[in-house]
Amino acid sequence: MAHKIASFVRNELIPESPPPVSETGAIKWMRENLFSSPLNIIMTIASLWAVYTLFNSVAPWFLNGVWSGNSVRDCYEILDGATGACFAVLKERWPQLIYGFKYPPSEFWRPNFAAVLLCVAIVPVLFSTVSKKLFLFTVVYPFLAFWLIWGGTILGPIVAFAGCAVAVLASRRLESYGFALAALCGFVCALVCWIFGGYLVDIGKDFLVLPSVPSRDMGGFMLNLILGTVCVSLSIPLGIMLALGRQSDMPIIKWICVCFIEFIRGVPLITLLFVANVVLAYFFPPDTNIDLILRVIIMITLFSAAYIAEVIRGGLAALPSGQFEAANSLGLNYAQAMRLIILPQALKVSIPGIVNVAVGLFKDTTLVSIISMFDLVGMIRGPILSSTAWNGVYWELFAFAALLFFVVCYGISQYSQWLERQLETDHR
């Protein structure tokens, strides 16, 4: 039986029209997300009630907060039985919370100035559109910041910087003779520079001196920031090297990297910090005295470098092998292929993981309070809470600590999401 086909030709296109009113705007959103079923209606109401109760109990505590007073008893007197926070502790102990309890108050401008300069120095690292000249300042910044925060003669940091600069220049010159030779020569040049520089520093002890502040006097949130910034910026390059080393064809390098990563990942950070505090001294000659902060920096850096290495290894594994082959087939050597083709892509994939480790690292800097360093948490747990004046003011102090860390960590997280969007070029 023949089937009849209805022939059809459209001569006029249907014009665009707006969707029905019930399908747009706030009403639709509420109906779909809050009141879509009886169960969801109950849940919505219950959640609103929970939010209200929470707000109801926290708001008076916060709003009634007492901001002036010299002890917790002053707060109680002012509150006179009403609920309210005792924020006076933050005001009275502010310098201790930020700088620790031994940093000389007359020198507070130095860490403040260093923090402002940090904001400048970090800009060319975070934003690639900024002029490359600013990057020179970023290179100089660590030495400048050291001088500002620790004090002493400026010759020390200058010699340290000169050593690094000489090492870089020397290894650049010798790059064409092979990487290992270049690195070795760079190291030797730096060493020579530092040894001679050491005499120079001894002679010019009084040149541009800031009152020196020893490491054990550092504390408060400043210590967390110092440890966080230094360790993050050291552990990312170290992590990249470990990740590449783990993929190396050279068995000895590969096994060193594998053993290092697996060992460090298998050990708790606190153990490593105790090692830094106590055990490390046994391994050095008796008369060497390595600064406690330096020891802690080394340990935290090694710890997070191992994690970052694994994150980056994941990023490297995500790249199709065609990228390596294309880079090789164009005649790029290993270093060029890695720097120009492989790492930019692998690091982009690893951003969420790296940020995860960086945020974790920053918060883990509070663990140094265990080995009797007075960082923000150490200050709160130690000198402040155990003083008779502020005994028992837990909520206010720890909420303040949480807030400080949250601001920094949330900032890092927002930046990383912005960066990911910036690097989005593959339009998947």
Binding site: G322, A326, A327, N328, S329, L330, Q345, L423, T425, H427
Partner: protein, 255 residues
Amino acid sequence: MTEQVHLEISDEIAIQIQNMNKWFGSFHVLRDIDLTVNRGERIVVCGPSGSGKSTLIRCINALEEHQKGQIIVDGIELTSDLKNIDKIRSEVGMCFQHFNLFPHLSILENCTLAPIWVRNTPKKEAEEVAMHFLEKVKIPEQADKYPGQLSGGQQQRVAIARSLCMKPRIMLFDEPTSALDPEMIKEVLDTMIELAEEGMTMICVTHEMGFARQVANRVIFMDQGQIVEQNAPEPFFNDPQNPRTQLFLSQILGH
């Protein structure tokens, strides 16, 4: 069928492969390969999948290492010496089945990267050369886009331009059209034909038999890691000698 491209082939040898063998583990992928390619010659390699044709051309620029025998490219023998390998790679351009453009770089940057870093060409000059070759593959207007924004055919043409920017003396093509939609195959083949007409030494692994008839001086048929038959395109397609070649040709030309 379009007319065959005719060009003088010089007596100068571009690639010489002697008694070359390769194993993947214990699997013998390439067996006693002997192949001499003169400058200006255009060779098409065909054969069933797994016959070792891709591996053969990947050995020529040392993406794969051979274990026995000799490969001499442009007078330089391929050994494990990294300097030789980098030198040969910069003289030998290669196009891949999946293009392998660098997705984090713009089209122009893809093309200028190797000249700038390997040949130390000034950026300005490298960009001019890149634009010249992008015009040649007919997509200069895409220079500032990223690979992800281009169609497959366009990406493959960029890949060809990227190789040409290194001014290679030899071009290798590893199934350049296999990952493309039928309507994009033509634009890539046209580019390759144009390249052939200019006298580029080419070795091309492909299943495009029309291209082979039109462009190749010589067609090589491989099976099980060996060169089974090689001949000029006319006799190769019209009068194949080996039964394996006959079967293969009847299968791909049969429908």
